[in-house]
Symmetry: C2
Subunit: 80 residues, 2 copies
Amino acid sequence: MKIRVFVSLKDGVLDPQGKAVEHALHSLGFKGASDVRISRVVDLHVKADNAEEAKAKGAEMARALLANEVIEDFHVEVAG
Amino acid sequence: MKIRVFVSLKDGVLDPQGKAVEHALHSLGFKGASDVRISRVVDLHVKADNAEEAKAKGAEMARALLANEVIEDFHVEVAG
């Protein structure tokens, strides 16, 4: 079963990569760009009998490896 | 207006980061994890009068900076 884990920085946590991209966009003439935040998406297949189990496995993987819960939030979607 | 740019590797392009995560998941006991692919999501605000203009600006930014179209695909969503 295919799942997608979104991992994004918590609100209020500084995003240096986003800031760098924002500056680069301004340099390229995109003056209206602001509040740039960069997140990760992890797409993967898991062995699961149903969507609920797949989602639970995704959350377990996120807690164990994919997300740093001190500074990041995550959510899991089942793609089918 | 808030937009979201998804940037993912084209099918067939090797994803070393995804492979590394896959191995790490296996090491942690998640033996069923496979086909791990990692993508980027760039959330940002743009100045635009309507959703269509916002989307067009997002695509322009993706082509100029956010995505490497040789190996990556992107798509833009308007979040509101």
